[in-house]
Symmetry: C2
Subunit: 442 residues, 2 copies
Amino acid sequence: MQQANLGLIGGGTVGSGVYHALTRNAALLTSRIGVGLGVRKVAVKAFDEPRPYSIPRRLMTTTWQEVVNDPEVHVVAELVGGTSVARTMILEALKLGKPVITANKALLSKHGEELFATAQRHKTNLYYEASVCGGIPIIKSLREGFVGNQITHLYGIVNGTCNYILTRMSREGAEFDAVLKEAQALGYAEAEPSLDIDGFDAQHKTGILASLAHGFWVDPKDIYVEGIRSVTRQDMEFAAKLGYTIKLLGMVKMTAQAPANRKSDRRQVQVSVYPALIPSSHVLASVGDVFNAVFVRGDVVGDTLFYGRGAGKDATASAVLSDFADAVLDLKCGSVNRVPAFVSHEVNGSVVPIDKVVSRYFVRLRVADIPGTLARITRILGDARIGISSVIQPEGQRETFVPLILMLHESPYGAVCAAFEKIRALQVVKGKPVILRVETFG
Amino acid sequence: MQQANLGLIGGGTVGSGVYHALTRNAALLTSRIGVGLGVRKVAVKAFDEPRPYSIPRRLMTTTWQEVVNDPEVHVVAELVGGTSVARTMILEALKLGKPVITANKALLSKHGEELFATAQRHKTNLYYEASVCGGIPIIKSLREGFVGNQITHLYGIVNGTCNYILTRMSREGAEFDAVLKEAQALGYAEAEPSLDIDGFDAQHKTGILASLAHGFWVDPKDIYVEGIRSVTRQDMEFAAKLGYTIKLLGMVKMTAQAPANRKSDRRQVQVSVYPALIPSSHVLASVGDVFNAVFVRGDVVGDTLFYGRGAGKDATASAVLSDFADAVLDLKCGSVNRVPAFVSHEVNGSVVPIDKVVSRYFVRLRVADIPGTLARITRILGDARIGISSVIQPEGQRETFVPLILMLHESPYGAVCAAFEKIRALQVVKGKPVILRVETFG
């Protein structure tokens, strides 16, 4: 193979980023992998849509099928997003036996198994390094670098928008709504921000990482999600006083194996997304602004961390180029299934329901500043066998209702919710308790 | 290929770690790569040498040739270290066409080119993920994950012993000698610690990373090295007051291209190892104890960081297993040169001599506490066109000679050395100036 051409579907932010990077570094890439590389065709929505880098008019088409069907396009990159037409595009290319690159986590999350099966049936492959954490080579590291490891714990800061908002709230003592508005003005958050701030984007990515780590494709419906809307400046302040920083974490954690008297040895895995308090001294706490990071603990390698930009035209382009090089080397060497898109190896694994997930907790209540309040609350927790590790009642408050912070020992989430339903019903408690998990990486 | 066997040369700390990890996770590895994996033979110094994990007696031999020549050994791992017999072992295995895995950075640094050429001549490959930063998949990330990037900057904390000593000095306000002694007692430093604390181990690793990033094999002789013996508690304290933390950094930095009127467009790269002040807010500053980390800036991906344990039986075993899986997949797919051991792509590149390397500096002097001292020093720096960004003279000192800290703007090292030779000769200056670089990742 002397020359391999990429066909791009999508000529917007990411598509033009890939075109730009590949063009600029073509000679370097060619010298590294020994094959000439180029972009043959780019399918765009409109020739004159705004894009950060220009694409020559002669390469553009508004018909995506022209990219897929062009015999001189050896590898197809789907960079349009969404879960309907993108699915069709990828399936069409795979059916022609062409390797496909995608950055589309929502699509993988929803239709991953169908896409992987199609790739296998047509003796080709699907590459998706760019779908999780942009330029960080986390997919390659998980399935190749850590191939010899049981991945016992994985904690990811995988959504740049949330991390930007939380970082600014923490640094400036600002409230969520104000920072969100500024993030929208700066282009770090969408006008419709729900996908990011309600945790759904993190859910897609966490599901992909969990699937690769544990070898069964995780249904996004099984992934418990809490976004960051409920995190307040006050929570940040109390957390900081206690030595913690609040981050939105995608979590993948092996729980104890099922008891031996059960027939199967189904692997139980926690897969969830929620804001959590982490020790401010932990390396993940120093991951600020729009940066992403994934903390991986393997049973052989120990603790590791991967850090970088999780989104944006350039970081994503870096991952697409890595996938392009892999696809081209596989074409050149006839090794297209060397590292298949997905290898199932724990088909009996399952996601632990959130109610059974055991964590520590930070709980913030508003309570009446009268004698006996704490006793009533702690009695309910005691009856539920939920241990309290510390209680903080800030002094100097001269109001009828004052904040009360409880730090709780490890308990199942279901039990904690049930106890706080009862506590909430007490007359001395006002409003809904704020319940955040505490992760200490123990 | 149904079954692939590893032959280990070396049954000590790392060798037994590989045996242990591979045995424990064999089923998982097999399900992930689709080939049965096992250890066929282990060459040891003595059957009863002390090792952290036991190895079955029936697998052991004291003759390394038995491992290399066994037709049922498909891949050979050299884990004995050193640069003489290890070289012979690897060459013998490569000449039989067997893929070889090594963790031996000293050997690669010294004989890399010969080993790579031998692998290529015999249509096999040499894998060395474990040679740099233990379990961190930095080799794979650099040459595959970032294949589409010019690596403009790379800063590595690549020696765990030095990082452990510097971390404890910083945390406890302790002096170098005391911490070194404790590190030796704890097994974190060797009885003969020079390889680590004088920077030579970091030199080997930095050379390998530089070579992979820039495509010309860097001769270790060209890599300027300073160890950490000269770092004092006082330097740490002043650095901390200024907002900096001192780390031993392996650095690989592209400098400006040679002027256009020169015939060649030789790439000039700084490759060096020295203790440097880095902003305490930077993510590298939070890398403590024996952990390693590599900060990589690519022209496409931007800033990234890789963090984990850089040494030890388990972290190193994780990297060896990753290489074993790669080697087996390459044997299975007939793609043994898919990612060659080394690809030369900047044959005209060269390492910039340290005198021409431009940095900022932290300089600590002991000076006479009399009027006119600062004027004499600043005049010499002014004449040499070296700018001063700040001057600190700690108050409350009641001695004849007092510390004086100078922070200097960007200047070539040669000019700074020459100026401080003159300054040192002043009667008002006592002892040798301490000169440390300041890296701000700009």
